[in-house]
Symmetry: C2
Subunit: 312 residues, 2 copies
DNA sequence: GCCATCATATTGTCCTGGACAAAGCGTTAA
DNA sequence: TTAACGCTTTGTCCAGGACAATATGATGGC
């Protein structure tokens, strides 16, 4: 694969520090050291001071592994066999491709030199399909396609960055355009700590806006105490949380229970995202939104249950 | 101060784990442990398993300390004397206030329940002053005011989040509206790894857009190798880097040297941000932008030096 | 055949205490 | 005033042990 990595500078040719690997892969220093001890991988070099130096190749493998783990694979499976197998496992994995041909167009456009056509294409699809369909169908398909492309070595990191940036602009711009004149319900949108997931948040925000509800987004990574504080201060009707698929179910559950207990009774709590999708029973007092397409109906329900009152 | 923190849930009343503190303060686990060993602060409780449990109060102090360190204060100064002094040091610090009365309006608006007026106010100022002045004068003043408010305990975290979110929306929306039809120069905008600074990037992007130059923003934290790859792939004329004030000068310098060496000769390298402002001599082959207001003139210079050619 | 319960294996994160390079600071020499 | 140098401060790394939380697999009851 003639990816970006090719252009390594002499200075860093040998490899990178454990801290850099932590940043680039999302795997903690402790985890990296323990893997090395237990599974024999990664097996970094050592510099003059005995500190670990990870060759680019191993970092690449680690990124791959992290990505697979985020899809539910377990480390033991990925790390015990000779690492060479990784490539094959990848080749075997994208079996789901094929259903997603619709999104294939993104790849060549991303790889083209000019971004304007891409920007235009996104804008056009948004205009043609409408914000709602764009968010529910187009963007998820694109996300999936990009993810697969990344794993297949087809898409460079900066191209993924670029994609995120462009979609983000489209969505923010749409939300902005839709305005939002103090309509009810007042919604507070965020994720709990340990969650990234910016694009997902933005997608939800756009959907809400498309349905006349304007969320106050706190961005990602809000501590629970802050969520509660904000909800109290802004007299929020609904607190909506988004959990990505990678987020451990138990933690989501705990966060929801804790939050439910701390929020005023009249404030509803909605939760959604891949992290909750499959999970059987929900938490008492929490409304689970199984898919993006459920947002609009759920909102309609809320309106039915809360007929418009005069004063605030 | 009747801040957000008040609403602590029973479950977490005792305190939080070291990982949570790392996330919330940005101070590494190692650093937290070493401070405890060396300075006696923080002094977390221990749970049944001997693991550190940080009371909210100490976390609050740590956040304060981090903020002060980001302004250049050194840990020894902050941690050695009885921590109680912190409050006083804070009270003494905002001496710079007063020059910034212009931005005071943001505080009450942020604290008001409704966000719509705030959104409207920002939009109006943007419309009245123009994008350029908004970015060069208004936003920096607001940022400063918010930072001070945060340190003084006047502004809660979620209010700061909210502010960032709203300004971000305004800027992105403006950039989006301005369009950008494949104009030269082709600019690549980003920060190197270890840098956050999203809002700063966006401000630069907006300024460029206001001057008819459309940057391709890679977002923050792009590894150098990726920057080079992206620059090559997109046939970039100018790579623009932003360094925040907290970023150590030496690292900026190294990054710039490395990048300069790796980029094609014809690609210019511009660098700006608080991290470079004071520093005397610049790096060979790097154009240092001392202030936001210099962006427009520098761009004009570029145009003068690169008269429009026909083909692409 | 399907679901609950338990035992077992896996896995991430935390701990201690030592070490050391890099960055900061102040002083002296040019 | 700038440059070079030594001392101090400070962040990050290391090793190896420990253990709770989670996933997996087996067993038994409906």
């Amino acid at each position: 694969m003639d990816n970006t990595q090719a252009a390594a500078t002499p200075a860093q040719a040998a490899g990178v520090s454990i801290a850099a690997v932590e940043r680039d892969t999302g795997l903690g220093k402790d985890t990296l050291r323990v893997w090395e001890r237990r599974y024999g991988f990664p097996r970094p070099l050592r510099d003059a001071f005995g500190e670990r130096v990870y060759p680019a190749e191993q970092v690449e493998h680690l990124r791959l592994i992290k990505r697979l783990m985020d899809q539910g694979q377990r480390p033991g499976t990925l790390l015990r066999p000779p690492i060479a197998e990784l490539g094959e496992r990848l080749a075997a994995n994208p079996a789901k491709v094929g259903a997603d041909d619709t999104a294939d167009w993104i790849v060549p456009m991303l790889k083209a030199r000019d971004i304007d056509p891409l920007r235009a294409e996104l804008a056009q699809r948004l205009a043609r399909d409408g914000l709602e369909r764009f968010v529910i169908e187009t963007v998820p398909a694109l996300n999936r396609r990009i993810g697969e492309g990344w794993m297949a070595g087809e898409i460079a990191i900066f191209e993924e960055h670029l994609y995120t940036e462009l979609v983000q602009n489209q969505l923010r711009s749409s939300i902005h355009t839709l305005g939002g004149r103090g309509t009810r319900p007042q919604i507070l949108l965020t994720t709990v700590k340990d969650e990234e997931h910016i694009l997902g948040l933005l997608m939800v925000e756009a959907l809400l806006a498309a349905n006349g509800a304007f969320a106050l987004s706190l961005g990602a990574q809000t501590p629970i105490a802050d969520i509660v504080g904000a909800a109290r201060a802004t007299n929020t009707d609904i607190v909506a949380l988004s959990f990505s698929g990678a987020y451990p179910w138990r933690k989501s559950r705990d966060a929801l229970i804790e939050l439910r207990a701390a929020l005023p009774e009249r404030t509803e709590l909605w939760a959604g995202g891949g992290g909750l999708a499959g999970r059987g029973r929900s938490v008492a007092g929490v409304r689970v939104i199984g898919a993006l397409s459920e947002i609009a109906p759920t909102l309609a329900e809320w309106h039915a249950a809360h007929p418009r009152r005069s004063g605030h």
